[in-house]
Subunit: 816 residues, 2 copies
């Protein structure tokens, strides 16, 4: 313990030398695998990549600087990031050597922010870029176009966007490179994902916990992730935490995360080449050794997998100083490294000298093509990381075998009277999908799969767990070294895994408590953006949809209280492109099956299914459910009494609890006001109510009117915040006829019925709304209204007094 | 490196004994500070707390079991969580001893999910609960009420909700206990925040990175956080990662995070008491030693602060098994430990025996009051952790000294012609606020303060940094051991710090790129819920508002691309209670000052300010800005030409870029169609457009009509997604007259103007909209329309060709 006493910090403090990114390489492995010739070529190839990186940032003409550099050759607006390019490219190039030597199946994930020049330049150097985009050919004009398009309107961005060959991780929002990589290697036993992690990115929460993913990786059935933490020391304007802690702390941290950290530190090129080449090789050999041991013995275990900490200067190989200011090795190297090249002749000269310092004339032949001796350094064909087909998951998509969902139907459903657990039933379907796709389907969730009543899936695939085992685990722990369920209490990590899994051609489902799916708003947002952009990239195939099952929903979070009541994820989804988002609120078990089947078969969407896990009323036979879900919206004749006539009022519903409550309201109205003509409508596919011009699922205005009438009052009982309905129907001519009820952010510790009452979605409130809105009634129903109000008050009082729902909520059945 | 080779895992693997929570205590510190009498009393006090915890979960009658337990004494619906109660209470009680011994100023943060029984029972035992809620008196009837209210409708929840004395951290959503604690101790040099961290919670991303907060804590000016990681082994249905990794890994992890981990492990009560008492004491002494060293020397440094890993069984002291199933030490102890007490006589007996095993008759006297010898164990007065005034930040709120914002005004503003940086100007105001409140105001952000042009604040308070320093830092690093700016690349951590800071009576601002504030949707959500509930808790004062400044907004993310374009945070905010949320979109610099001043002076809100960081047109003199912002919405006469008449069309705007574009559209219309009467409206306070019945800031219908007319077309140009406007105005009679433009999720690498064009918020599109919508024009303006269309196409083509905005966007000035 004595070694962990106080460290003095501050300017006069720590032994900075130990943290320095400069000088001769210092590394965990010290071999010299490269010949002098290989060393030279490594530097040249590295220079070629760096030259291209700078070219992308600066040039629109004169790509090989064969004329003296003039401002007219520069892009008018300079954009792009230089800081992380060198460290990333350095790693990429050295991994190329190992791919060739060991015939590795590998991909490269670029985590650091705006690090695209590193991967773009390498894709161009290895020829893939020109194969994919023939106009960016391997010659002077191709290179000019390649430069010009970068961070240019109509061109490509500064992250590893969908347009980037070999990318399945854009990195626009930071923190997900490791979880994406693990998702990619699950069930891909031959794959190694070389994952660059930025030290800025490493400060994010999602990244900080995703290092623990090794406890969920099986060395027999899964591939390997080889993280390279690119410790270049700086973010936009700040040092990074991990670059400024003691060496021992840093090493301890990754040992603690369960990895074996290998260090490669310095700036001297030759020794750094040797260090990186030998360290990467050692890591690859370790990975293969662990895999071999597990695969030959048939015994899975958790190795302390290797990872690399690459400490090299930010903006490595750039000028150390520009005037009085540090550039290389400081945060000023983050973005465009020299900004005043348009206006300052000296700066333009500095840039030219710098770029020429890479000696492009030795790297590219007179046509502008990489010289043959360097071209050989890259692997060939699909072994090139930017050509690995796994990163184009849509083209690699495995067929999902789905049993007939009709076989799982609730049978003999008596509408509104049958009472059963939709989610438990759905779990059987899910189990059998998993059984038929044991290598390409997984279920993800943050420790809630059992709570969400999906545990039947454990019959074919338990929860993957490579941590230690205790004897208690035999008592229903449902853990296994190999399984189909992935659970960690990090919505970020499980979402990242699922995204990585889907983007590499497989299939899955994430289940979450509804309130806490907000934790991944931002991740789902980014995934939507990724798949939307992919639609514009013609060489990308459509990946399977990201299926999100939101359960433990707001209306049954009465007992967990206010913090657990938030159905607002749907609002976030509705802001995304209509080309990629779908929302379903199946009212009962057969509809849930039908909707889920549809979602599993779909491609390139984010499908959100909202369905409660508790027992619920069932309404539709399987046949009716299929019809209903196919239409996505429908009038339930059996619950309506307006047959052949105009209704007095429309009771519309969307969501399981609202459907039940409005049906009960219908029953109250029929009992007390039998002459009132009520039409009962249910919406499964939320976007049906939006205008067709806004969403492809939208009804046209005629269809909308046929369901909701042009002029009758509509009491719309909605699962989520009511405003979302107003937003979706704003352009409908009859929108002012809608009174929408939903969660109004009113809750605490409640009973389900009392929570409903507080937000006016309960049967009494809905019936009262109908009475108030139905124009024909006038004051004639005021007695009934008073009785209903009285019942509502009694129900609330009962809850406060007894802490139980009165029988209505769970025992009520449709009596007709 | 040999010690970190493969570990075999799996059932036959790891040395489980080293990870066991059972048996004699094993601890880092092995002293025996407690006398036999103290030991006995510690156990009794612990039992009293556990008895109360079970009572809360089960009983509504017969609180002290003085009658044989019958089902009628039980709550009808059993709710509550037992799993983490013992570990938390154990810690609480042992810290009480140290508070008394050293007169410590301490609070207790309860991180584990649903762990309220532990803190509620301790608050009750130390008398605070009865002082705050006299009907929950320290006698039999008070105890009965105390039990009954727990997880009961109309009562209190299972987290440390706002109703809980001593709580400033609810813990409904997991992951924020450490960041909240750090926020609480910043600028609170005497305070120690004892922070229980659940090992489930520890898997979350926000928690995983928040351990690094020590790099931002100054031992001279700030207090200390003492984390106790409650390693009870299980989440809801799963083991936890940290409980199932090797001891060395676990120790390494926390050494790596920069802490000194002390272990206390076992289940045997006497030895665990000694271990916990001595270990906590050692930690407190270490904290005081570090603080003394720093404070006496005047030299701040980063100690490796102590933290405790408490490994004790989940559901500790409960039955080890229930029938064939494990309870204590397994996940089955998570929630209600025995669930079938209503229906199974044997289970009822087991519960009774268990509860009586705590010997309540020895703990509480005949009135039901804790016996005097145990009451002495708790501290007194405000030293009781549940009475510490700092947790009721509203009552402790420090006065914020704010200079007159008018002194920072842009002067001689020529409307629509003055061009200046609103954000840079605001930074001066911010700097002077910081200067006047050096102990109670901080600015938080994820590495973007400088990028967001707020760096002027460094003149009075630099960025706090307790990591190592390099010589480069002198080159504009703006780092300091003590400062006012808190930057870490974790939106979660900086938001958690700010929340903790504000909730303990101080003030602050978080600045973020607009797109990535979605990362903390969920945290802000939870903060809204907290402050809303606080309004219902009469003894809580109002804390200062959580001020969020969203900049680097969607319209200037043209160059960073699609991943950086998301203005949807406002939708999340709009779903929260109107009592606590406010949204402002100041169109220019003087409005920004006025709005910010208002936000800093306000209480108990989440204020969201959206304002771009780039240079922008200025519109209003300070006097006009104050008037405009006070009204929150207004007709800009100088930009309108409908004086004294009905306009043909209303151009409404909200947000800086939309305001500029619609103003330019107005100018185009005036140039080409001088007879067209245009009314120009600007909205600063977004909720003004919502109906008064939905939000207190809402205009009444008459006011709304007076601004927007009852029947004229309104082209509403909005900063964010257009749907939000439709949602807010849905109940307005004239809502169908609104054509709303905004971000339509269309973007890539663009120029600002081209991005605007793609989403139809640009000057040409808006002018065309006006022509299309103005009923009076008919086809008469078709020539103008064609010309505008042509200009729009040319602007786009220019962008694709030159990569620059044509002069319009940045050079355009209002010519009238």
């Amino acid at each position: 313990m004595s070694s962990i006493a106080i460290r003095s910090m501050g300017p006069e403090g720590t032994d900075v030398a130990k943290l320095s990114a400069y000088g001769e390489a210092r590394s965990t492995v010290n071999k010299n695998p490269l010949t002098k010739d290989e060393l030279e070529k490594s530097t040249k190839y590295f220079y070629a990549s760096l030259y291209l990186s700078l070219g992308m940032i600066y040039l629109k003409q004169n790509p090989l600087l064969r004329e003296p550099l003039q401002t007219k050759h520069l892009k008018a607006r300079l954009l792009g990031h230089w800081g992380s390019d060198a460290g990333q490219s350095f790693t990429y190039i050295h991994f190329n050597r190992l791919i060739k030597k060991y015939d590795l199946d590998a991909i490269f994930i670029s985590g650091p922010g705006h690090g695209a020049p590193a991967v773009l330049s390498n894709s161009y150097l290895e020829g893939v870029y020109s194969e994919v985009y023939p106009d960016k050919s391997q010659d002077i004009e191709g290179m000019r176009r390649f430069f010009r398009q970068f961070s240019f309107p109509g061109g490509i961005g500064s992250h590893a966007t969908p347009e980037t060959p070999g990318s399945m991780h854009e990195g626009g929002e930071l923190g997900y490179s490791i979880s994406h990589s693990f998702g990619a290697v699950f069930d891909n036993p031959s794959l190694i994902s070389v994952t660059m992690v930025g030290d800025g990115e490493a400060e994010t929460g999602p990244m900080a916990t995703s290092w623990h993913s090794t406890k969920f990786l099986n060395p027999i059935t899964d591939g390997a992730v080889l993280p390279v933490l690119n410790l270049n020391g700086y973010k936009i304007n700040n040092p990074t935490v991990l670059a400024r802690i003691d060496h021992e702390e840093l090493e301890s941290l990754f040992l603690g995360y369960g990895w074996t950290p290998y260090f490669v530190e310095g700036s001297d090129l030759d020794s750094m080449h040797q260090a990186m080449a030998s360290t990467l090789e050692e890591c690859v050999l370790k990975i293969r050794q662990y895999q071999k041991q597990a695969r030959e013995s048939g015994k899975a275990f958790r190795p302390r997998w290797p990872m690399i900490i690459l400490r090299a200067p930010k903006g490595w190989t750039g000028p150390r100083k520009l005037g009085p200011h540090y550039l290389e090795g400081f945060w000023r190297a983050h973005q465009v490294p020299i900004t005043d090249v348009h206006t300052k002749e000296e700066s333009l000269k500095t840039l030219e000298k710098w770029m020429k310092g890479y000696e492009p004339e030795k790297l590219f032949d007179k046509n502008g093509t990489l010289v043959p001796e360097l071209r050989e350094l890259a692997p060939s064909g699909d072994r090139r990381m930017s050509a690995n087909p796994v990163t184009n998951g849509g083209r690699m998509k495995q067929k999902l075998h789905i049993p007939d969902f009709r076989d799982y139907a609730f049978r003999d459903v008596s509408p509104g009277a049958t009472f059963a657990g939709s989610m438990e039933n759905f779990a059987t379907f899910l189990r059998d999908i998993a059984a038929q796709n044991l290598k390409s389907f997984r279920v993800f969730g943050p420790d809630e799969t059992q709570s969400n009543k999906l545990q039947k899936i454990y019959e074919v695939g338990k929860k993957v767990w490579l941590g230690s085992y205790f004897k208690e685990d035999e008592d229903g722990g449902n853990l296994a070294l190999e399984g189909r369920v992935m659970e960690m209490l990090s919505e970020h990590t499980v979402e990242g895994w699922l995204e990585g899994y889907v983007l590499t051609g497989r299939h899955g489902l994430l289940n979450s408590y509804e309130p806490f799916v907000h934790i991944i708003d931002s991740m789902v947002n980014q995934h939507c953006k990724w798949i939307e952009k992919c639609l514009e990239v013609e060489w990308r195939g459509k990946v399977s949809s990201l299926n999100l099952l939101l359960t433990a929903t707001v209306w049954r979070q009465d007992h967990n209280g206010f913090t657990h009541q938030d159905p607002g994820f749907l609002d976030v989804i509705c802001n995304k492109s209509p080309d990629v988002v779908r929302i379903y609120l199946p009212p009962d078990g057969n509809c849930l099956l039908s909707v889920a089947d549809h979602c599993f078969r779909s491609s390139n969407y984010v499908n959100v299914i909202v369905a409660d896990k508790q027992n619920h009323l069932q309404y539709l036979s399987m046949e009716d459910a299929v019809t209903h879900c196919t239409k996505g919206i429908g009038i339930w004749d059996w619950a309506s009494n307006d047959a052949g006539e105009e209704p007095d009022v429309v009771l519309a519903t969307c969501g399981d609890v609202p459907t039940q409550e409005s049906l009960a309201a219908t029953s109250l109205l029929r009992e007390h006001l039998p002459d009132l003509k009520v039409r009962f409508v249910n919406v499964v596919d939320l976007f049906r109510i939006q205008a067709k011009s806004f969403h492809p699922h939208g009804l046209d205005d005629k269809e909308f009117q046929a369901v909701f009438t042009p002029d009758k009052p509509v009491i719309f009982n909605f699962h989520s915040y009511p405003w979302l309905i107003h937003r979706l129907i704003h352009s409908r001519a009859s929108s002012h006829n809608f009174l929408v009820r939903g969660y109004m952010e009113k809750g605490n510790i409640n009973t389900p019925l009392e929570l409903a009452i507080r937000n006016n979605v309960d049967r009494f409130s809905i019936a009262i709304d109908a009475i108030d809105q139905a124009p024909r009634l006038g004051n004639s129903a005021s007695g009934v209204r008073d009785r209903l109000l009285d019942q509502r008050v009694k129900a609330q009082n009962f809850a406060y007094h007894e802490g139980l729902d009165i029988a209505e909520l769970t025992d009520w059945r449709w009596p007709y």
